[in-house]
Symmetry: D2
Subunit: 291 residues, 4 copies
């Protein structure tokens, strides 16, 4: 297929590369053009605007936050302008439910399809085409694009016609990870202050009740107090929890653990940890216990 | 071996039966004697006091709470009196760190061994000899008893010489489960109020990031709002979180998520849910969101 | 003086009336014009746009929220357009720190003065000219306007040159009230469940340690469970606590009690209480205790 | 009257002295006898046991915690033994609801009266006979003792026949103070990080909405970060909040702000602040904001 890709960061670059490997024709756009040009040797066509990247059958976006996503869509030479009628914008970024709803509305008014397709997985998973992709939007568009999703992920989950639902699921998943980190942090502080070995504690947890990769990964980071370099920056974790709390507030849902996590992200940032990995929530728990 | 077993409840009964199956000689004691007698057809010898149950090489206890454990050990015809010098008391109950320390001290003063051996697993796992057993105490005692642990569990984790550490690990694990239930409850309330399908949401979570049995088990209970009959009663969940908070307080460790969980257990009980399964924490989250 | 007044709600109307009583010439604007015309018999001149209300020496605004304040300032026939160079806009509304900063910047660029002058007091206090007024902004402007503040309030507190500080103080004060309500609600639930008399409890508190009018006022509402009609609507309380949390987040300040209060406002609204008085936070505390 | 006084600490000593000044005959007991002997020059009779101090018409106790109160009552030469039938024990200490209920029961069984009479006020107020005294217990006993209460306090509040209610009111009052400190701490951190003056902020609060002595006293300590020497030690504050949470737990009442306060007391202690004034809760809020 003939598609575009906007946003070639830590996640977007390997994802775009996987589309090229699978034989698709790819126009690529990135704010700092050098990252787009770097993909030319893999066969990509570097373009100058998001609108140009939208000249094919569909355009993918993978951006850091709402602001970046809004700019490439609504900006002067943006996707909304460049995308032909009946073509699809697939938004893979972790954006808010509110923005996703506005994007759906804007594309709908232009007769364009809009699919939300946020992903679970860190950069290594993106490179290995092992992402999990959560999809929601027009059924026809999703079906047609299935081969492209398969080129990037190990599995897709199709939800329904309302794109924002996929964003809600993604944000909720990120909250569950952040909450898990918080809880591991609290227990590790407890275990350490009782003079016990946190590595052994986490080993037992992850070999019995919590035998899931996400517990093992974060358990190891916390046990080793290994918060740099960040796989996922703490300030991005705060952004996602803030987005969850915003989605909850619109429907009057209190989420007290999310509030605790938010407060601790703020403490971590206040103490200089914005660029640490978000597993550094456990550092706050340790410091609050005098460790 | 020639051992005793005190406490034949939902967990203790199948555990004792597994010791009998493995060919050990077993004296059994239970407060309501009928449950002890019921084991006689499997070859057990029903006795009248914890002291009599302690006449062999070792005695196991599996009781509901600190109070019961204190009674069978310190009571008139208790284990402390009946257990010979050099013999071992293996406490498998989920008791507090504080009581475990007092038991260790009391047995030590009598020249008796004391091993803490709390378990992870529900009654089905006990019946199938699939428990995970966390061990701490005198190395010699633990090694000698290894075949008995193997008759009851699928795996043992040996920690070190300080018995209370095993109790701390057990309580921390139970806190992690309770916190997971709380977090699932909050996200499910969020998902439901946005009109999305909680089953589908939980399916995605447990097939991707959180592919651990404990998430699947509780995810299903929460999605189906299936809180009766209780696999583990909510009021026992409160007891365990209270024990975690007590262990944390002795070392000045704040655990704010544990505080949230405690508060919600209290709400659940105040609203009549003491005997529901502890997954009914999710019911509180739903009600707090007006569901 | 010759001034304008924009926003004639429950608070604005009596405040404007007090300016008229003090002999000032007043142009008044309100979105629904009837409320402006009602003031004509007191000598006011009803005008059609915020810009027209800004034709004198200064213009006061007293609006319900950020959105309304933004519209009357930045809108087509808004204050920014109508206010002459060197004249002052005095914003008395409870708005966010962020909007106050943007207003200061916008007026500064036009060579206009901007004073933030939020008030403490309910409608009765506004009618009796008993408001407390917190002032920040250009010293000269504040001094010149002093007689007008005296016509509306019992006392002014001048902070300094940065208008947003006055808004921060106002929001923090509202948080302290909301937190006080929450705490009274928690203790009243405790007292009631122990079978004691909450009225007697609150009487003791407000005649000893907490002999402040705000404790007496809210203590009485809570003891009588008298949440209607609202003196200050619960949903406005949520708005203010949200504004406090936003101001805190920009400086990385965790405020865990504010988070608790926010969560309980959401519960109250989820259960249908948006239009109750914000003292109905105590209703959530009671319900959470099974009352 | 002929009475006894047990416990001559920072509070008890000036209280006993006021009873002497009012012309009562006083037997005094203190664990370290020197403090009792020091009162002999004021006319007191130093005795060797709580039982001896109970030989008159009534005996007052003013002790630091439950443990001390239990010892002087239930101990070998304790009050229970020394107090004659029909005589009264007036417990003025801040003890738990649970202990107060046990004391009531024990005295009742001996045919002795028991009155709970906890006080609000710091040592200066005790010296000036300005305490507020909250009374509950047998009506006859309270009436007979009224002159003694008047010698120690500025006002009494009589609740009813159930002594534990007075303790509940006292503990709830202490929770309200601790929560107020926490909230002031959070807002002061907010104000400081916005570059505003916390003294000015607190001045405005305490001269408007919160014109109560308790706000002024603690506001000044917080604004000046003046946490030593302690008027009331932080670890005693934790004890009282723990007692409130225990009283709440027995009736299934969640008190989330009390949970937050407890967690922050623990952090303060973990960081070495056990002996600071309990207003140092504000130090935790500041540190959590990176100050």
């Amino acid at each position: 297929m003939d598609v575009g890709f906007v946003g070639l960061g830590l996640m977007g670059l390997p994802m775009a590369r996987n589309l090229l490997k699978a034989g698709h024709r790819l126009r690529v756009y990135n704010r700092s053009r050098s990252r787009a040009e770097a993909l030319e040797k893999d066969g990509a066509i570097a373009v100058d605007t998001p609108a140009e990247a939208s000249a094919g059958d569909a355009v993918f976006t993978m951006l850091a936050n709402d602001q970046a996503a809004e700019e490439v869509v609504f900006g002067g030479e943006g996707i909304l302008k460049g995308l032909g009628q009946g073509r699809a914008h697939i938004s893979m970024s972790t954006i808010t439910v509110d923005l996703s709803e506005r994007l759906a509305q804007a594309h709908h008014e232009k007769g364009q399809a809009y699919v939300a397709a946020p992903v679970f997985g860190r950069p290594e998973a993106a490179a290995a085409a092992k992402l999990f992709i959560v999809l929601a939007g027009e059924k026809g568009a999703i079906e047609k694009l299935q081969p492209l999703f398969e080129a990037m992920g190990q599995r897709t989950f199709v939800l329904g016609q309302n794109p924002a639902e996929a964003n809600l699921v993604k944000l909720s998943g990120n909250f569950l990870i952040a909450a898990m980190i918080e809880c591991l942090g609290e227990t590790v502080a407890l275990v350490r202050k009782h003079g016990a070995d946190p590595r052994r504690f986490l080993e037992i947890m992850t070999e019995t009740l919590f035998a899931a990769p996400v517990y093992r990964t974060y358990g190891a980071l916390i046990a080793d107090q290994n918060y740099e370099p960040a796989g996922f920056k703490l300030e991005l974790g705060l952004k996602d929890v803030r987005s969850v709390l915003a989605a909850a507030e619109t429907k009057s849902v209190p989420m007290p653990v999310a509030s605790v996590v938010r407060d601790h992200f703020l403490s971590a940032i206040a103490r200089g940890g914005a660029n640490l990995d978000w597993s550094a929530l456990a550092k706050v728990a340790a410091e609050d216990a005098g460790l």
